[in-house]
Symmetry: C2
Amino acid sequence: MIKNKIKGLKMTPQRLAILAYLEGNIDHPSADDIYKAVLKKFPTMSFATVYNTLESLKNRGSVSELTIDPDKKRFDPNPDPHNHLICNKCRKILDIHIDYELRVPYEKKQGFEITGNHIKFYGICPKCRRGK
Amino acid sequence: MIKNKIKGLKMTPQRLAILAYLEGNIDHPSADDIYKAVLKKFPTMSFATVYNTLESLKNRGSVSELTIDPDKKRFDPNPDPHNHLICNKCRKILDIHIDYELRVPYEKKQGFEITGNHIKFYGICPKCRRGK
DNA sequence: TTCCTTAATGATAAATATTATCATTACATA
DNA sequence: TATGTAATGATAATATTTATCATTAAGGAA
């Protein structure tokens, strides 16, 4: 529910529009994608507002920033830990929900306190497979 | 051995200097890190040459590009598949060599042909743990 | 409901990272 | 040693993200 994602922040129309676009979105859009999409319904939207909003939502844990695309940051409206499937050709990113037990033996930890992990699976998506 | 990493490419002093810096380097440097380091011993080095060389080495499979740091690309002179340990505070990146059997059941593959994976472990490094 | 404080917006500039262009240079092989 | 071509270096262009700041408006208080 969108209201929970924004609790504690001012509920501006711009933020609601951004959240509405993100809600249920599985495309892992970039800031530019979000800007372009929201602009259609909200012609006064500024780029700065997109970044500001994403920053706020990130800090609240309502969205997560993905470091998957080498060229730009992408955003995931699902902040629960999950993994991703990436097409090496078209760069499409899909969620993949499998939990693995990734135990790290003490002698491999190198003194780190490990708090989480993220798995990227690389491959070729169905569309790109057919296209070749 | 450096010569193998460059086989098929012209062996220029600039490239040798870059390779020498990368050889055995475990810091996962950015293009800028590499540029700054090589510049000390090679004052005429151009930024473009660093990028060009990294591109060539990447295409040959001699180095790999890491999508781990959200702000910039980093490079790993070890092209063999391995995983990474990342400090959430200081952003330091360490190699972690553990092989996991990450089986993906057919119904989770979403039509992808999976060719590889990469695991990022997040945590706090020893130095940052002490610093707090 | 109206007022008021303060956070948010929008316009824009600045910073950072990467890619592209191209004349000149120099590697490598014939 | 001469020569074709790939590589270099200088620089411009592009892309992404962050910073600045005057103006606006959300939302709690009166």
